[in-house]
Amino acid sequence: MVKMEDLVGGTANLRVGRVLRASARGFVVGCKVMQPDIPAFGSFVRADLQPAGISVYGLIYDVVLRDDPMARRFVIAEPPEEVIRDQRENRGMPIEVGVLAVGCRMEGRIVHCIPPQPPVTMDTLYRCTPEEIVEFTQRLDYFRLVLDAPYVPVDELLLASLRVAAAARPPQERRPFLIEAGRELTRLLGNDLLRLDGLLRRLSAMAR
């Protein structure tokens, strides 16, 4: 079973990969398969826009593995261990990580908004430390950005991000944090009771 503590990276500035393409609402990062910490759905990540002095925060909402004819051939065969390792570690088939922008840090302050500039190609993406995650989730205004995001599994992403944010806190703070998150969701989804009910049920299971 996955422990809450395992959901957040403890190391400061753990690199996820580099930006392949970007827009104001989000960006796609390429990284090598089999990194020690494979990026997980719902993880908080950060890209530093050096000249602008802005950090963009985002949530991983998709992880795509590309294939090629050679890899496809070996999937249906039963290849030796050496071939599996060669295909995974040497053949440079990047995995593409989709990130939804949910905020930024400008002049030292975190704001939950679409960042003024997207990162540029080859910018490095880091996994946020627990301290950064706690700081970012002091406010929950980013919920609105997630709820409005097109082509994203919105409810799942919100829950996954809350699981990560709760895990970044000391055990005694987790339940109050999740209850506060539930209140915020109730404010935002008051007109969609069925959906809200589903989200709250899962939140309360998480808070137990």
Binding site: P79, V83, D86, N90, R91
Partner: protein, 384 residues
């Protein structure tokens, strides 16, 4: 438009002609296989004539020998190397050529990640670019690429800890392109190549070249010579029914994993330079298909010092079969070495851009020729 009604008759005739050709082909293949059996023990008497006739030269083994696959060693290292080149382009910004050598070191049974390498080298000085008045391109560049491949392979073999090692190249071990080049300098080039073979031999490794779907018909020539009573003159005068039948078809009856008899290559570069240096190249045909599958006949070339050492020969035989079974008919290390050596179109463009930037940084303003410039405009697809 295509008026199909005008072709009906010709298409029918074509079908009949091809069916007839197919029947003749099948009959000739059957005849060739029968001759393999008939002349199985005639190798000794045919040897001299075969060399003069440019036919496969028999060794001590009967011509119809079938050697089943030896046990595949639980642990051995297979190393494959392959190379590609970017030819010097007189329409480019600067005159240079590039060699890119790819290799894979695969330790069977180790569970380790294979070592993949891709090593480019850029050559631009006058000494690099010219041999006398000749620009190094085409066949001359092929020889340099082959030399870079085999040198890299020898480096990897020497760096490998002891244990059975199988070194593989894609294609041939014979620098046959030298046949098309001016005689001066041939010996020096071959000597440099053979020095690398020495290094591999001294390490105790086995070495082989793998030829996929070979078109050679040297065994067919040998059988025609045998059918002509071993008389070279007579063989030359008579039509060789096996002339257009690749040897691999004659050996399609080999069971999976089995090899044919060993033959020596009649190639003139082999006879002239390799034989005196102790690196005579021999070959055999090998069915690299899995059990129960359609035959996949490959040609394997290997130096005499491999064939004279039972263990090394068994490693070449079993090692290639093991490698081919991973990929399905082609050695895995060579498939990967080719991939690692391959230079894609966008990579070529990036290199050209990098060279341009470097020239600019050094204060040299250069430009592609007008022809190359306009090609770059017209070949990028229409915008309107």
């Amino acid at each position: 438009m295509l008026d199909l009604s005008r072709l009906t008759r010709t298409a029918r005739e074509m079908g009949q002609a091809l069916a007839h050709q197919e029947r003749t082909f099948t009959e000739r293949v059957a005849e060739g296989r029968a001759w393999l059996k008939t002349f199985a023990e005639s190798g000794e008497t045919l040897r001299e004539g075969a060399e003069a006739f440019g036919a496969a030269i028999p060794t001590g083994e009967p011509l119809n020998t079938v050697v089943p696959c030896p046990p595949i060693p639980a642990r051995f290292t297979a190393i494959g190397a392959d190379g590609t080149a970017i030819q010097p382009d007189r329409h480019g910004q600067a005159l240079y050529y590039l060699l890119n050598i790819g290799s894979l070191v695969y330790r069977h049974g180790s569970g380790q990640t294979p070592e993949a390498r891709s090593i480019p080298s850029l050559h631009y000085t006058d000494d690099d670019l010219y041999e006398g008045a000749l620009l190094v391109s085409g066949n001359l560049l092929d020889v340099r690429r082959d030399l870079a491949e085999i040198s890299h392979l020898a480096d990897l073999v020497e760096a490998e800890p002891s244990g059975p090692i199988l070194a593989l190249v894609d294609g041939t071990l014979i620098l046959w392109v030298l046949e098309n080049l001016p005689a001066p300098g041939r010996r020096e080039k071959v000597t440099r190549y053979l020095t690398q073979l020495d290094r591999i031999c001294q390490k105790g490794a086995a070495l082989a070249a793998f030829i996929s779907r070979p078109r050679h018909s040297e065994v067919g020539r040998l059988l025609h010579l045998a059918q002509s009573g071993g008389d070279v003159q007579r063989a030359r005068e008579r039509e060789n029914p096996l002339e257009r039948i690749p040897d691999r078809v004659l050996f399609a009856h080999l069971p999976p994993g089995s090899r044919s008899a060993l033959f020596a290559s009649p190639n003139s570069i082999n006879r002239m330079f390799y034989v005196p240096a102790g690196h005579e190249i021999l070959f055999f045909y090998l069915n690299v298909a899995d059990e129960g599958e359609e035959p996949i006949i490959a040609r394997v070339e290997t130096p005499r010092w491999v064939t004279e050492d039972k263990q090394r020969l068994a490693l070449v035989h079993a090692g290639i079969v093991a490698q081919c079974r991973i990929t399905g008919g082609f050695p895995y290390v060579l498939a990967r070495a080719d991939e690692l050596a391959y230079i894609s179109g966008p990579e070529r463009e990036q290199l050209e851009e990098m060279v341009g930037m470097a020239l600019l940084a050094a204060g040299i303003v250069s430009a592609p020729s007008p022809k190359a410039y306009y090609k770059s405009l017209t070949r990028r697809g229409r915008r309107w």
